[in-house]
């Protein structure tokens, strides 16, 4: 009997893509015949993927490079296929429907019906690490080192046929224009807010097959988050 094999791609235009691949390999060590991990820089590589991760990096750089190298439409097609997606930090920003404090030429892919605020905590001096309890959605993971680097947060769940508008963060004095995705919402699930910090800021969410985190599990040496993504999103399909 042949084992079903999965190819998980990591978008490798800019940012910490190798770190994701290293942790995925660690997380699936015992089943390395079943899972294959691929750096994705071209539309052809993306076509081979059963799931895609968009890593941390600079969200403006990533979006501009994707546009120039003709990756936007293939990414939109991938989203429409309903395959699993996970965005960390800059990846969260890229996958969102609306971006507050975005740059005029930055694209929002619209894979998840949320609004995100970039650099919500401030500059590098405001970056932080915190031990968080994720046992509410990952079994037994009650201590996880979550690393936030110039991190974005989820400021709003956007209204769709499946979601009611829900504002999680009041944007005070934010005059910057909002970048809105040109792509139609195709996600037929409800947005679940997975984790809220003590100060009320929402830093993890999922909508069906799409997962977003404003922190970087790929920078820790703990592979439990990656293992959960594989079990819950990839191998469950």
């Amino acid at each position: 009997m042949t084992v079903k094999q999965y190819t998980v791609g990591v978008l490798s235009l800019q940012g910490a893509f190798k770190e994701h691949i290293d942790l995925f390999k660690l997380a699936t060590e015992s089943q390395h015949e079943k899972f294959h991990f691929l750096e994705v820089k071209t539309p052809q590589q993306l076509l081979r993927c059963d799931a895609l991760v968009i890593p941390g990096g600079e969200s403006t750089s990533m979006s501009l490079i994707a546009e120039r190298t003709k990756m936007i439409q293939p990414l939109v097609d991938f989203i429409h296929s309903g395959k699993p997606l996970w965005g960390t930090c800059a990846g969260l920003i890229f996958l969102s429907r609306e971006i507050v404090n975005g740059r005029p030429n930055q694209k929002a892919l619209g894979a998840i019906d949320i609004q995100v605020k970039r650099n919500a905590f401030g500059r590098q001096l405001d970056s932080f690490e915190s031990m968080l309890d994720f046992s509410g959605f990952i079994e037994a993971v009650d201590q996880f080192p979550a690393i936030f680097i110039r991190a974005p947060v989820i400021s709003k769940v956007l209204p769709t046929e499946y979601n009611e508008e829900y504002i999680t963060m009041k944007l005070v004095d934010d005059q910057s224009p909002i970048i809105r995705s040109e792509n139609e919402s195709v996600n037929k699930s409800k947005v679940e807010l997975l984790y809220t910090l003590d100060n009320g800021l929402v830093v993890a969410a999922r909508q069906g097959n799409v997962l977003v985190t404003s922190f970087h599990p790929e920078l820790s040496d703990d592979c439990r988050f990656h293992r959960w993504f594989i079990q819950e999103f990839v191998a469950s399909t």
């Binding site: 800019q14 190798k18 600079e58 680097i149 110039r150």
Partner: protein, 293 residues
């Protein structure tokens, strides 16, 4: 590892596969951001002009740095002089994202570098060889870059530094305890840092970028193929006739550094590039890479 070091190394990891560009005003910063730079380095003068001036070069005026920070949403770096920990304190007070303790500025201390562990803000430092890289990391640098001759447009010394570090790492991987002791003593580094390098299979504990003399998309891709994690571009972009086009091409080349077809496209019709100064034409005392100890 301390919490801060982890966060500061983490920010450098976010810059990987990216291009950090020198800019001297808000307008250039905007061009860099539009081109897809993952960070900018805020300077009063680009290295080519500093080199030509023959004057003492210091930290930029905080007013200029603040203007650039307000203009762009990507991380902003700034340079302080080697050993000038007060300039670093000032940059930290501005709230800059990264400090480059740089040989491009006139060194303030001929013996010591800044004790970077005393700061919350991350530092990048130059290194010509493995010993220098590990000394800087030991002092608290959370990112390393080569020390190619800034402002020359000649890539040869950056290439030299990247390959030397690789060769030295390969040697360290073969060393026994006695040889490690000897190398550590000679390079003024701890034996532990070398043992750690061995345990990690030769992977440096921080990100290593190419810097100094990068003037074309091909130069940037060359450094990437030699194994660096990303690229700093100084004078090359804004000394060329068409900065926006060149900046964009270099960003694209760093993403697709292994694809000659794409590099061909990015290298074509860029217009007049920066003038060059061959490093061999410089006297030893004119070489900036000799600064740092």
């Amino acid at each position: 590892m301390s919490n801060e070091l982890k966060l500061n190394k983490g920010l450098a990891q976010m810059l990987k596969g990216g291009v950090i560009m020198d800019v001297v005003n808000a307008e250039q910063a905007k061009i860099a951001e539009r081109a897809g730079a993952c960070a900018v380095m805020a300077l009063e003068r680009i290295p080519a002009d500093m080199r030509a001036s023959g004057q003492v070069c210091r930290m930029s005026d905080p007013k200029l740095i603040k203007e650039i920070m307000e203009e762009v949403s990507i991380p902003v770096m700034a340079k302080c002089r080697i050993g000038h920990f007060v300039e670093a304190q000032i940059l930290q007070a501005i709230g800059i994202d990264y400090i480059d303790e740089s040989e491009v500025l006139t060194p303030a201390d001929k013996k010591y570098h800044i004790e970077k562990t005393a700061f919350k803000i991350p530092f990048v430092c130059g290194a010509k060889n493995l010993g220098e890289a590990l000394r800087r990391i030991q002092e608290g640098a959370s990112m390393i870059r080569s020390k190619g001759e800034a402002g020359t447009g000649d890539i040869s010394s950056a290439v030299g530094h990247l390959t030397l570090i690789k060769e030295q790492i390969a040697k360290v991987l073969q060393m026994n305890d006695e040889e490690l002791q000897q190398f550590a003593k000679q390079e003024r580094i701890s034996v532990e840092s070398l043992k750690e390098l061995q345990a990690n299979g030769g992977k440096l504990p921080v990100v290593n970028f190419a810097a100094g003399g990068v003037a074309t998309p091909a130069d940037a891709a060359l450094c990437m193929q030699l194994g660096c994690d990303g690229v700093f571009v100084g004078s090359g972009i804004f000394k060329s006739k068409n900065p926006e086009k060149l900046a964009t091409a270099i960003v694209n080349a760093v993403t697709h550094y292994n694809d000659p077809e794409k590099l061909l496209e990015y290298s074509t019709d860029l217009g007049e590039l920066m003038f060059g100064v061959a490093i061999d034409q410089l006297k030893d005392n004119e070489k900036l890479s000799s600064r740092g100890w």
